[in-house]
């Protein structure tokens, strides 16, 4: 399979990439390419120009600033997986990274690329929602910051405009316990349902729980009903059972040859319960 012809430009700064985006009608951003290249090969998309941002060093790297973890959008899944800083500052992200694709895929695929692509079965959207990530988007008039809860707008769609680029992602860096559990499609490794949970707890009492769910619906979502049922309560198996049983209330789940909607809906409840159990030991 070969992509349709396109032109190619490697940008060496965010400014240059933005300039190229503005001056071309039908351009797409290329980072790791692990969502875009398969789509090009299937000719699902046929852009006139690819703007390669993978050589922009300012988009790459992980640092901690004012208690927040700041991850460049071009940072690969593998770099996050291997980062001691991430392991310490965000156990949830550290739990997600090694569950993405395989080693070769994680060597190329990027954090920002995955978020911007917003695949309904992608892993990072669940985590971004659970940690309430702030996504920094650069455009003609400087940057704007959008919370994960407002970032994903539909299947494969985000608030990023055609002339904008996602540059970095800020997540809380105080080491809140977190875990990502996914039911993998056996062939592709994509999440049939994936659940990202963070929780603070003290002497058997839950502080704040956050739950992001991917794979089940066209857009990843926060299981707020479950969160509210748990926040401030004493941990018990019964509480988790009861709360998780409402995880799929009112959901309109995706349906495909791998998993009909009713199965996904059941999986949401099961995976939320398992993730809570693992994290809260109940």
């Amino acid at each position: 399979m070969h992509p349709a012809p396109f032109a190619y430009k490697a940008a060496h700064s965010v400014e240059e990439a933005l300039q190229l985006l503005r001056s071309h009608e039908d351009a797409k951003i290329l980072a790791g390419g692990h969502s875009l290249i398969p789509a090009l090969k299937l000719r699902l998309t046929q852009p006139a120009l690819l703007i390669d941002i993978s050589k922009i060093s300012s988009l790459r790297g992980i640092r901690r600033e004012n208690g927040k973890l700041i991850i460049g959008s071009g940072t690969t899944h593998r770099e996050i997986e291997k980062s001691h800083l991430v392991a310490e500052a965000s156990p949830l992200l550290a739990s997600v990274a090694p569950q993405i694709g395989d080693v070769q895929v994680r060597h190329r695929g990027t954090f920002g690329g995955s978020l911007a692509h917003a695949d309904p079965a992608g892993d990072w959207p669940a985590a971004a929602l659970a940690v309430d990530a702030e996504l920094v988007i650069a455009g003609a008039h400087g940057t704007r910051t959008v919370h994960a809860s407002e970032f994903f707008t539909g299947m494969l769609t985000t608030v990023i405009q055609p002339d904008e680029i996602l540059t970095e992602i800020k997540v809380p860096g105080e080491g809140t316990p977190g875990i990502y559990l996914k039911h993998r499609n056996a062939a592709s490794g994509y999440a049939t349902v994936g659940v990202a949970v963070t929780a603070t707890h003290d002497h058997g009492r839950i502080g704040t729980v956050t739950i992001g769910v991917t794979g089940a619906t066209p857009v990843a979502f926060r299981a707020s009903v479950v969160e509210h049922a748990l926040n401030g309560h004493a941990v018990s198996a019964h509480l988790l059972d009861e709360a998780a049983s409402h995880a799929a209330d009112g959901l309109e789940c995706l349906s495909d040859i791998h998993a009909p909607a009713a199965y996904r809906s059941q999986l949401v409840k099961v995976m939320v319960r398992r993730a809570l159990g693992k994290l809260l030991h109940a």
């Binding site: 070969h2 012809p5 490697a10 390419g33 692990h34 290249i37 390669d52 993978s54 080693v103």
Partner: protein, 172 residues
């Protein structure tokens, strides 16, 4: 101006190559068709099977999922570059000794990923090996002998022992 043909410089197995490619050229096709390095195989062409695994700047990648233009300025290693100075790479020897292959189609990709595994950690556990081979599919062996091959190669690397001369066993 827009670039419909792009000049790239890629070092492959220690040799620099200057080429002009169409941006849509996949790295695997560039290696096979432009450079004649057909040791890197195309299996699924969808990033699933790992037969086209090569190492770019020290990181294993599936070369059917990378554009040749993205490798501009990179150091690429393919299966053809494993043997050095007339001696097999420890991974090649491991696959030979432990019979880590049957039909051999997936083997170049498996060997390159095995090189990556052992460069990350020369003494991986069985579980670490199986985890890191997740992106490579073999329809013949059942994987057991592949895992044994990686372990044998690791032992060779750790011991510093000299590997077999290229050609050993051929026609024997």
């Amino acid at each position: 101006m827009e670039e419909h043909h792009v000049g790239i410089t890629v070092e492959v197995n220690g040799r620099p190559h200057r080429s002009t490619v169409e941006p849509r050229t996949l790295l695997v096709d560039y290696l096979r068709d432009d450079l004649g390095l057909t040791g890197t195989h195309i299996g699924c062409d969808t990033g699933q099977c790992g037969a086209c695994t090569i190492i770019v700047d020290g990181q294993s990648v599936k070369s059917c999922m990378v554009l040749a233009v993205q490798a501009d300025g990179a150091h690429v290693r393919t299966v053809e570059g494993l043997a050095q100075d007339g001696r097999y790479h420890a991974v090649q020897q491991g696959f030979w000794e432990k019979h880590g292959l049957q039909c051999g189609f997936c083997t170049p990709g498996f060997m390159m990923q095995s090189v990556q595994i052992l460069e990350d950690n020369p003494d991986p556990s069985d579980e670490e090996i199986r985890d890191a081979l997740e992106g490579n599919l073999c329809r013949c062996t059942g994987y057991q002998n592949i895992v044994e091959a990686v372990k044998a190669a690791g032992a060779t690397i750790r011991s510093g022992a000299e590997t077999m001369a290229v050609g050993t066993g051929v026609g024997a």
